[in-house]
Each structure stands twice: as structure tokens, then as C-alpha cells.
Symmetry: none
Subunit: 404 residues, 2 copies
Amino acid sequence: MNAEIIAVGSEMLTPDKIDTNSLYLTQELNTLGIEVVAKCIVGDDRVRLTDAIRAAWAHSELVILTGGLGPTEDDVTRDAAAAALAVAMHEDAEAWQAVLDRFKKFGRTPTENNRRQAFILDGADRLPNPNGTAPGQWFQRDGRVLVMLPGPPRELKPMVPAEIVPRLTALLPPLVIRTRWYRVSLIGESDLDALIAPIYTKYTNPATTILAAAGDIDIHLRARCATAEEAETLLAEVGDAIAQVIGDKIYSTNGDALEQVIGKLLIARGQSVAVAESITGGMLGQLITSVPGSSAYFRGGFLTYTNEMKESLLGVPTETLKSMSAVSEDAAKAMAAGARERSGADYALSTTGYADADQAGLVYVGLATPSGVHSRKLQLTGDRHRVRSMTCVNALDWLRRALA
Amino acid sequence: MNAEIIAVGSEMLTPDKIDTNSLYLTQELNTLGIEVVAKCIVGDDRVRLTDAIRAAWAHSELVILTGGLGPTEDDVTRDAAAAALAVAMHEDAEAWQAVLDRFKKFGRTPTENNRRQAFILDGADRLPNPNGTAPGQWFQRDGRVLVMLPGPPRELKPMVPAEIVPRLTALLPPLVIRTRWYRVSLIGESDLDALIAPIYTKYTNPATTILAAAGDIDIHLRARCATAEEAETLLAEVGDAIAQVIGDKIYSTNGDALEQVIGKLLIARGQSVAVAESITGGMLGQLITSVPGSSAYFRGGFLTYTNEMKESLLGVPTETLKSMSAVSEDAAKAMAAGARERSGADYALSTTGYADADQAGLVYVGLATPSGVHSRKLQLTGDRHRVRSMTCVNALDWLRRALA
């Protein structure tokens, strides 16, 4: 079953407002194995909303509307739904009684326009709303469902487990969902896709999703089957083939970030790491220490932005800085070696390079290990932030491989 | 002019993903006086997307599509737009050359599927994308406009001021827009709103927008008038009143971030800064060095995560660490003093505290200046990331006030 969610209300179309209801509903629907294939926010415009509902109803088995169920002229959800489905409405006696009861409880009198809130689509179930005046509605026809829910999260949220989940569960075939998650570093999205598309495009089950961020790609596989065994077999069939072509560029299969993977490897080996940063200016240390418990293996670091600091803190030879410049293989090595020695850590990473100006993107990364000191030249692209981020990904991935 | 925004990509239909592009675009469109009347997220489904584009095109003068311009079969935006508008596409020679150039720059070879990225709607302008392979497109017909932009924010964002705003401005009636921008630190959003709502709610012109992030609030005022003089008068009337009640919590009036403000102050005074970080593990250094040109005033730093490092690198007395613990006023002072002395910088900031576990949120910040060493105790709330971020904001804001 596929779902679309339509949130109604002009107030959600500002630069700083987020439709949190749809995130919550997506979570609940995914848990049931229902995929959300589109979501919209439509202002208080009956014509536009009617069109949006009609399109959703044509494409998806489940349409959930949130908001726009208040008592004013602005509240257009009921009317638009009735128009889109070509269904009449009636005043529901129980719904009106619930409105009266609620007003009585607060010692107030409903106005005539509150009657609008008691209007229910012909053939729909009224869904009680314990925290507000507007009831929800559940309308089912030809195997399709349209749901209306109130907009305020404190009214909507309790209604989902109470009214929506049980009704949906009754409609769904019993299915088991199993997932795999590969995290991959240092490969371009199109290169990766060229590698794995020949595999995953052959299957709709498991479904494959690829998410790319700077230096990092997540591959999600989701199998939905009648039994767990069947799902695991499908995941193995597709997942193992994908894992084989990507190889050791996969750094995690459980969602761990690169810095978490490194932390676990260091803990397992009882070893520690330090950093010496020039171009990244603290970003590498900040990433490593973003992991709770990192004090167990992170000894510290040296932000040596000036040549004097590289000399005095890390013992990088004046000669190296003069003859080779601070952005060189030798400087990166000397920084890593100095950081390892002066921190007492087992491993040390160093970074030096140009983040902007003429030679932007020229970076050297150093790695000092118990068995030697190495450096690598990188030629990165993008703005200052990207060059610095990619430097960190390269450094961390190098350490991961050294530890693995 | 009314606008609709359609974001394309199944990855944005998960329970934890937010379409930040649409928030940014809404901000930019509102600044031009264009209202966003609907926005949608549609998965990678050509048929559904074609329908969504057709509906938006029927209802609004401006339709902006983001994402789905990549090289894979999954990237359906171009095809769907062509189908919805009943327009053919052609391979654009310049667009293909741009793809080739970009790959060449990185020493890579495009795959055959990259050709898809050079397809342009007949009659559309190609919009250059300096940070990615996929160009944008601008298609205009019968007074309506359809725009396609790449999904990654670092590609999309620079294209909006460069390509979209000027083209839209040319279509709009001539109105003069003048803005003010206050950036405010270390005050809660509701406290701030209680202070300034009595002022700004009296006016619809200038329009006031408040954007809140952790430790940071932006207040935008936008006046739209027939003349610049009129607009400036309105801005002064509302803006000056707002500035007066907020006082020196305003750290910037030109959009500069806190670390940029500090950089300019240090450059103006010919002075320098260093850091000694424990709880923030490099975040403070990373923030300071995120500013291009920061090598002019950032000398470097010490990430002293262990007590041994605090002793050996910064000379924090063993006594202090034993009797007072590493999270104490004395430790923060000794760290700042040690960092200042050993880096030769004029100022040094230090951070020490607990990011999680029992005493999470207890933080000391130190500041060493040419005239003395000070420390402050903070009691912060939130998760590890927020505690570390707020520690940085507090430290930087303290330095700003010391320099101002």
C-alpha cells in the first residue's frame, strides 16, 4: 500500500515552519510497511486543495489529510475532500453532540460556524478526537482510503494509534520487513551507481535507496515478504552482490558513521589516536569527539595554524617548513609523527593544505602508526567547507583501513 | 506572483528528512514579494511527478522543481517536466561540454548516462551550476515560469542569487526592497519574541521574520515601497525600536556569523587568538577557521582531552586537576592561560565540561586576555551536540564582548 500525505494550512508555507505531522505519520506508516510516495503542503485554497486530493486519490491507495478542520471559512479540508471524491456531506448527530459536550465542559457556547465541524462525508466513519473539537474522518471506497485528521499535533498524535493504525492493519496482508544498510566512503555517486545499478535495478523487492552526502553514500535495502526467511534470502541475494562490487569502500553495515567505526576499532584494540590539524583547524578532532565515550581513545590534538606552532608544538623542522613549505608531504609526516610522539597516542592523523586561494584543494594527510609514518597527497574540489570536510573523510578512512 | 515548490526524491520521504531547500527558497521568494501557496515532495516516480507538475503549472505562475537532475534512471525531473508541459528536449552542446569540463577537472571520465544531464527543454535557458554536473533550467511560457534546480543545497543555493533572483526581479513590478538583518546570540526564542513582538506586530510593512537556530536568532526586516527613502524610513522606525530593546545581544547587522565578527575585530586590532579545548574537542577551532583568511589571526590550539595532555601541553598544574578536577573554574583558567602563553596569541579561549553522563551540561569556559585570566560556569541543556555547540557560542560571544 502506498500513501500520500497532504497538510493543509497557509501558516505552514513560511520559511521557518516544518510540517512535523507528516514526519510522525511517515514513521507510523513505514512501521506498517506502507510507503509514503508523496507529500504536500497546500494553503487554505479550496480549489488547489481539491486538485491535490484528486491527484493523490488517483495515484495512491491511502491519502491522509491533516489540518483545515476548524470552524472558520478558512478551513477548507472537508469541502475539498467532498468535492474531490464527489461525495455529499451530512451533519452527524453524534459529532455535533461531541462538539456541544466539549464546549459545555469548558463553560462555553458553540457558535453557528462550529456546526461545520460536525459535517461528515457520506459513508465515512467519524474518528473521535479527545483533545479537540474537530473529529477525524475515515472514508473507504474501492480499496482506497481517505483519512482526515486535525492539524494540532497534540490532537493528531493520539488518534493515530487509537484509530488509524488498527484500521490500516486490518487492511494489510501480513508482511515481514527486513533491511540492510551499507555506508560507503570516497566514491562519487554516479560511479557508485554505475557499479551497482546493474544489480539493484533488477529487483523491486528488496527496494534500494541511495542517499549521498559529501564523501559519504548510504545504501538502504528493504525487503518485504511473507516470512522473515524469504526476506533475508532476498536481502542476501541483492545485498551480497552489491557488497562484493563495492568491496572495502563499505565502512559500516549497521549505520555507524566513520568516526564511530574508528572508535569501536580503537576500543577493541585498546589503542588511542591524536590529531595534528592545520587546514581542518579542529574539524577532525571535533568529528572524533562527537562520539560519546571518545575520551576512552582520543588523547587530544594540536591545531597548528602557524609555522611557529608547527615547530614549537610538533617539532616540525624549520628546514622542512622552509624548503618544502608547510603544505608538503614532509610537513604532513612531521606533523603526524610529532603529534603521535608528544601525545603518547598509538596513531596520529595530520592535515595540511589550502582551503581557498590559488592552490585551493591541494591537501596532504599524514598518518603515524606504531610501525611508521606515511603521507598522502589529495587534490580536492569545492568550496572551503567541502575541502575541509573531504580532508577529514580521507583522513578518517585512512585510519579505518589501517586499523581494520 | 504565486509560487509552488516541488522537491523530487524518495529519500526525502523518510521520517527524519526535512526538505530544507524549500525553506530557503520560500525565504528568497518572500523577499521578492512572491508567496508560496503549495509545496510538495514527490518520490522518484515519473508518472506521479508529471501529474504534480501539471497541477502546479495550472494553478501558479511560478513552479520550482528541486532535485532529480542526476545522471541515473532514478532522476526523473527532466522527463516529467517535459511531459507535463508537452515540450520536447534536446541535448544541449554547451551543457554537455560543461559536464565534460567538470569531469576533466577531476581527472574522471563521464559515463554514458551523464549525457542525460545535458538534456534541456526546448526553449529553456540553461542555468550554470558551478558546484555540480547538473545544470538548472528556466522555462517561460505565457507569463508562467518553470524552474529546475539541482537538489544538493550547496549546488542549489549559489544558483538562486546568481540565476533565479535576477530573472524573477525582471518579471515583477518595480518595487524597492530594503532589508535589515539583526543576528542575536544567547537569548531564547520565546524570550526574544516577548521583547519585540509588541513592536513588530504593529506593522505588516516592513515584514518581520524570526529564524532560530541553537544559540542564535536571526531577525529579518523587509520593507517594500515605491521609493528607497520610504523603505528606509519604515525600517528605521521598526528596526531601531527593536535594536534598542535587544541591546548588545545583537552581534551583527550585516549577516556576519559570530566567528566572522570576531575575525574582523581581531584584524582591526592586529591581534590574534588561540584555543584550548576539552569538551568541544576541536569544534571551537573549526568554527574560527571556517572563516576564509582566519590564518591572519588564528594562531592555533590545543585539544587536551586527557589530563596528561592538559598538564604537558598547557601546563595545567597537577594539583588543580587533582583537587579541583579537570572540569573546574581553575582548570578552565589554567588552560586559557597556558594556551595564550604557549601560542603567543593575544587572546585564548578554553572549554572544559561534561557533554553527557551524570553532570552533562556543566561547562567552564576560560578567557585569557592581555590584562588577565577569567572563567565562567555554564549550565547547559540538551544532547551532546547541543551542549558542545552552546559552549562554543558562549565562548565566542565572550571574546566578541572582550574585543568590542
